[in-house]
């Protein structure tokens, strides 16, 4: 019976861990706008499992690149890019076309 209990316990833990990732509620989505060659907000603190969506509102294409982590295609005006953060940590990112544009996502 010990074995069964342990497995049940394991399933319950897995479900609890997966819940925030698989169940996306409205407040699990965060928005970053690109306006006037600036990521706004430039720094964002989020919980693991949050999906962040960048929208380019400039008349010039931009990209969103975090070395080894994520890389958007070229975003023309009003194009969007989304990424779901499944691991905690600090994610520095920048626009590979205009590298003076930088931002940071802190995932807890």
């Amino acid at each position: 019976m010990k074995t069964l209990n342990r497995r049940d316990f394991g399933v319950a833990v897995a479900a609890a861990v997966l819940l925030p990732i698989t169940t996306v509620r409205a407040d699990d989505n965060m928005e970053i706008h690109i306006d006037n060659f600036v990521f706004q907000p430039a720094e964002l603190k989020i919980k693991v499992g949050t999906t962040v969506t960048w929208t380019n509102r400039d008349d010039i294409p931009h990209t969103v690149v975090s070395a080894g982590k994520f890389r958007s295609k070229t975003l023309d005006t009003d194009d969007k890019f989304s990424f779901t953060f499944t691991n905690a940590g600090d994610y520095k990112y920048f626009c590979s076309l205009h590298p003076h544009m930088t931002g940071m996502i802190k995932v807890e």
């Binding site: 060659f37 010039i60 023309d76 005006t77 076309l97 590298p99 003076h100």
Partner: protein, 314 residues
């Protein structure tokens, strides 16, 4: 490149660099030894006469074919106006350089349209890429069209009329928080390329992003540009031609003249004059005074390079 003098006759002559900027208002500026001097109001015919004879080549930049936003809904149309302007010049230029951002989004159709219009000038065109020309998934459209015979991401050199031209690429492998980038491989190639060149050979360096620091807050400069400029320091006449900032800017430092050309697509604000760079919407009536091309004249006998910026209108 036929018809150009590739000989060594320029080696013994003293090189004096002179720059003339024909601004939209029709004032001709001449800069000798770093001191700007106005030659007064002139018209285009006189400006053209002042530039002739000698070898003349053209600089065209930032055509952004495919751009259709409010700052200029028809960038292909204004490129065509620029080419018409070139075709109407009293002295046919020997060739043209394009300092990048041929297209806005690196689409095959944008490259095709740009070529269809630019080829109407019937001039040889030497390209360097802008960051807008490397946006396609496989980064192949620019290379397929203009990369033949170039090194690395597309750098190369050639000689024309006794002048050594060097096309550099500073729009790849950009680092977070940084500016334009040449990279170690390209700098090593440049050193090789210049080795053995007589110091009296006039040098023209051209690249998309300014090789000098215009305004780092907006990324208008090249991280390791100073290392390239160090390598040409000993030469008697160096001219650096860039685009990217969509406005005429010029400075003279010793034997080096820096100059940026207008775009044929849309203007950008002066450094710091707006919250950010980017397409600047101006009154329709003013747009063509802020777009244009540059013609650069190298006088064989007087050994001076003259730059005349010609707006599409005004």
């Amino acid at each position: 490149m036929s018809g150009h003098d590739h000989g060594e006759d320029g080696l013994s002559r003293r090189k004096v660099l002179e720059c003339m900027t024909w601004a939209g208002t029709g004032v001709l500026w001449t800069i000798t030894g770093g001191v700007p001097r106005s030659l007064g109001i002139i018209d285009s015919a006189q400006a053209a006469t002042a530039a002739a004879p000698g070898m003349t080549f053209l600089q065209i930049s930032d055509s952004h074919v495919g751009f259709d936003k409010p700052a200029n809904p028809n960038a292909l149309g204004t490129l065509e106006e620029a080419v018409n302007k070139i075709n109407a010049m009293p002295v046919k230029p020997s060739f043209m350089i394009h300092t990048g951002d041929i297209t806005h989004l690196s689409k095959a159709a944008e490259f095709d349209n740009a070529d269809r219009i630019i080829s109407q000038s019937k001039l040889d065109v030497h390209y360097v890429p802008g960051e807008h020309d490397f946006l396609d998934e496989d980064v192949k459209f620019y290379r397929e069209r203009y990369g033949r015979g170039t090194k690395g991401a597309g750098w190369y050199s050639f000689d024309a009329g006794g002048v050594h031209f060097i096309g550099l690429v500073n729009v790849v492998d950009l680092k977070a928080g940084g500016l334009g980038n040449l990279g170690a491989e390209q700098l090593a190639w440049l050193e090789d390329d210049l080795r053995g060149k007589s110091k009296s050979t006039p040098i023209v360096l051209f690249a998309h992003i300014p090789l000098w620091t215009v305004y780092p807050e907006w990324g208008w400069g090249t991280e390791d540009g100073a290392r390239a400029l160090d390598q040409v320091k000993g030469f008697g006449s160096v001219t650096v031609l860039n685009g990217h900032i969509h406005q005429v800017m010029q400075k003279v430092e010793g034997n080096v003249t820096f100059h940026t050309a207008r775009s044929t697509a849309f203007p950008q604000p002066a450094p710091g004059a707006a919250p950010s760079p980017g397409p600047m919407k101006v009154e329709d009536a003013k747009l063509r005074a802020m777009l244009g091309v540059a013609s650069i004249n190298f006088k064989q006998n007087e050994q001076r390079l003259a730059i005349i910026d010609t707006p599409l209108q005004g």
